[in-house]
Every structure is written in C-alpha cells, then in structure tokens.
Amino acid sequence: MSEKFDVIVVGAGASGNAAAYTLARSGLKVLQIERGESPGAKNVQGAILYSDALERIIPDFREEAPLERHIIEQRMWVMDERSYVGTHFRSDDFNKPPYNRYTIIRARFDKWFSDKVKEAGALVICETTVKELLRDDAGKVIGVEVDRTDGRIYANLVILADGVNSTLARKAGFRPELDPRHVALAVKEIHFLPKDVIESRFNIQDEEGVVIEMMGKITHGMMGTGFLYTNSDSISVGVGCLLSDFMAQKITPYQLLEQLKAHSSVAPMLEGGEMKEYAAHLIPEGGYHAIPQIYGDGWMIVGDSGMFVNAVHREGSNLAMTTGRIAAETVIELNREGKAMSAANLARYRARLDDSFVMKDLKKYKDLPEIFDANKQFLTTYPSLLNRSAYDMLKVDGEDKRSKQKDIYRGFRAERGLMGLLGDAYKLWRAFR
C-alpha cells in the first residue's frame, strides 16, 4: 500500500469507530485497521450504551443500530453470602423515547458501527494486526507497520484506539505498563433465554430492560462489582475486581463468577438459560491520575487506551466515543486551518477534553480508587452488618424492636468503633462530594 492517508485509526472499537466515522465524514482520507476477523470480534463490554455520546455522532442511530433493550430500571444490591439489601429505581421517564441507555451486544453493535464508518468513506481492513508505529528521525509518528507483506503504511496522523492493553502506546513509550491497581479484570458469560421468560422474570415488557449492579461479600473483599444485564433474548452476567486485589487472593476469576451465579438471589434469574460465551477483559479504572499523555507529534490516544473509564458510574463506551469524536474534531479543525499534526497543535485535544464532561467527571472522583483500596470495610464489614441488621429487624421472634436496634448499633460499634464509623462516613463524603 504505497498511498498515504490523512489519518490511520488503529482499532474498530467504540473510540476508533467514533474517530474514523467523524474523520471520514469530513472528507479526510482515513484508514482503519482491525485485528479481529470482523469489527467487534475482539471487543468485550458489559454492555451498556449511553445514547448521548452516539447521538452526537450519528443522531438517528436508533433507526438502524442493533440495540437490545432500553433500561427502565436499575437495581443496586449490597450482598452478603445469603442475602442482599437492595435499592431499585424504575422510572417512566426512562421509558419514554428518546431512550437514555440501552443494553447492546458488542459484536453486533460494532459491526453495525463499522459499516457506518465504511459508508462514510473510510477504508476498513480487518484481520490485520499493527506491529509498531513508524517514526521519522525526529521521532514524529509517520505511519504503522502491520503483519502483512509490504506492511508499511504512512499517514499524517495515527490515532491509537487499540484498547486497554495498548501494545503500541507501550512499545512507543507513550504510556507505561498498566499498574495492577489501575485495572479491573472482568469476566462475563452470556446466557440465552426466551424473550418472554426474561420479561416475566424481570417484570418488564417488550424492549424494556433492567440492570443489576452488585457489591459486597460476593467479591471476597476485593474492590469490584458484579453485574447482570437483560438483553433481548439473553442475559449478560459478570463480575470484575481490581487486578491488584486478585493478586492477593487465591480465587480464580471463573470461580468468583460461579459463586456469584450460585447466589440464591442470582441463580433463579439464570435458571434454564444456555451459556454461549465466556469472555474476559481488563477495564482501566485508575481514573484521572492514571491518564497518560494522550497526544504527541503525529499521534493521539483515545478510549480505553487513554484510560478513559468512569469506574464509579460504570461509564466507558460513552467516554470512548466522546474522546474519539473530540480527537477527530480537533484534527478536522487543524486540517481546515492548514496546521501540522504536531504536539503543540494537537494539545487542543486535551484542552477540549478538559472542558468536557469526560475530564470533569474523572477529576471529581480522582481520589476514590485510593480510598476504597485502603478501606476494605466498605466491601466486607458494612455489607455484612447491613444484611444482618435487615434480617434481625425483619425477623419476628418475640424480641422487641428497640432491643434489636441496640444490638445492631452495638454490632456496628464492635466491628468498626465509633471513630471508625465517623471516619468512614467522612471518607465516603469526601470521595463522592
């Protein structure tokens, strides 16, 4: 391939597709390179799609994108071994178009998004792994080398949308190796069930969906959450914990998932389903402090590769699409002004992100990973106390409620101490304010 491109986008996930689509639509000559057999074949997500981010790129996506169910109810369960204390939030407002969130199946969705990229005029090649970035004597990125014969391809700019592991950014020295404290390992299964069974089981109607987020003893004190999402005729169920915590535990990820599935509150929801895929993925959860340099001479980083995930709110694909879009818009603007793709000019990308919800949200929770890491009681002691308290207060056994309440209070004091309780309350307030 001797021709030169305006931009090469590495990866056909959410961020790469957003960038390639936006660039190609503006008339730039774009090449997108994907290592999977087809777009989506290497991509794993929960998966929730937040409409807003995609709407800003493809306003009428709802008419044709493969969407599973729009979310009308979110459940949050704090669990111990035998029970959960939960909140359920269901709203009619979430049940009115335009819908705010959907469950999706990434392999299907990414294929559709990639078709839009092709329609917009980009050249998309699959089954091709980028081996390394090509640089000139001054260190400027001038293209990529792929694992095909005559595999050197040149461009004015390379956008790295190559995911959390970002082999390319690490090899080029743009980013250090991932810190086990900054990534969560999530494992997930998809279970197929008839549509009407899902709908009656979750108390929903056609196209309506429920998501359940779970925390507590199910992660054995590891920082992490479980999840269960309803798709059209399947259920995604999984669990993810910080890698640094997995390292200290002696439980395998698949055992952890089996235990979650066997919990008395989860098992009935999966009953009768047929498991058809088991997936694993790292999620960049280091937050604001973990974001690397995201631009330089001839290159930009978008999506997971730049650690753009809001772990607190389980938002990732929307940050991926937004960083992809904003990166592309920056390039389009520079191109229009006739400016070079230099580090100095591409600094506009970071400035735009700083002004967006992406950086503002990540900054808001910048200290949260450390606080939870240093205070395991939030994931073990409190869920246990909460569940025990609920059980005691609801059990009718001849003992008066005031005495029970005193026992519960004594239990909290005994486990954490008065100063511990106050300190924990302060820590939580500080982390979320």
């Binding site: 999977g36 998966a47 392999a107 091709t128 792994t129 494992v187 997995f246 390292m247 395998t252």
Partner: protein
C-alpha cells in the same frame, strides 16, 4: 454461595467460545522458565481467566489456545516481568460471537 459447593472446569466455559488457533505460533511466551520455577507467588496460575497457566513441579506451563487476550498475565507479573505478550497475528485468536 458456598465456595466448596461450586466447582467448575474452565475448559467447559472456553468450549463455548470460538477460536482460530494460529497453530505453532503462540502469541504469549514465558521469557525464562527458570524464573517461573523460582517464583513463589505464581499469580498467573490463579488470575488467568482462561486457566492458561498450569502450576506444578518445576516451571509454570503455558498453553495459549484458550487465551481471551485480556492481558492479565502480563500486568500481574510485576516482580519478574517474565511474560512476553503480543496480540495474535491478524485474524487469529479468540473471535467473540457476542463480546
């Protein structure tokens, strides 16, 4: 949620997945087996979600056929940095049907 009551073979899970194995060209390699033989923690044998790393006498044994390409083994080998990790050649490896 009794740990003992739940036993699972990861192979049964991986069996549901679709792979295009690049025979004879593993994309992940142990750099120095002697280092693994000395390793006290052997976290790879617990943390790998596909059970690719097998514990036993002597060095850890790596079989990459069921690899989910998550990157865990590389990231957790913090003390020794003994995992040579690349993506498979274009088109090979796990092909997620649903993802």
């Amino acid at each position: 949620m009794n740990a003992k009551a739940v036993s699972i073979k990861v192979e049964d899970k991986l069996y549901q997945n679709r792979y295009l194995v690049d025979a004879g060209r593993p994309h992940i390699q142990i750099k120095d087996e002697a280092v693994c033989a000395r390793c006290a923690t052997r976290q790879c044998t617990v943390c790998c979600p596909a059970g690719c790393y097998e514990d036993g006498e002597g060095p850890v044994v790596l079989t990459t056929d069921g690899c989910l390409e998550c990157g865990t083994c590389r990231v957790i080998c913090t003390t020794h940095r003994n995992v040579e990790w690349e993506y498979p050649r274009g088109g090979y490896g796990i092909q997620f049907k649903f993802g």
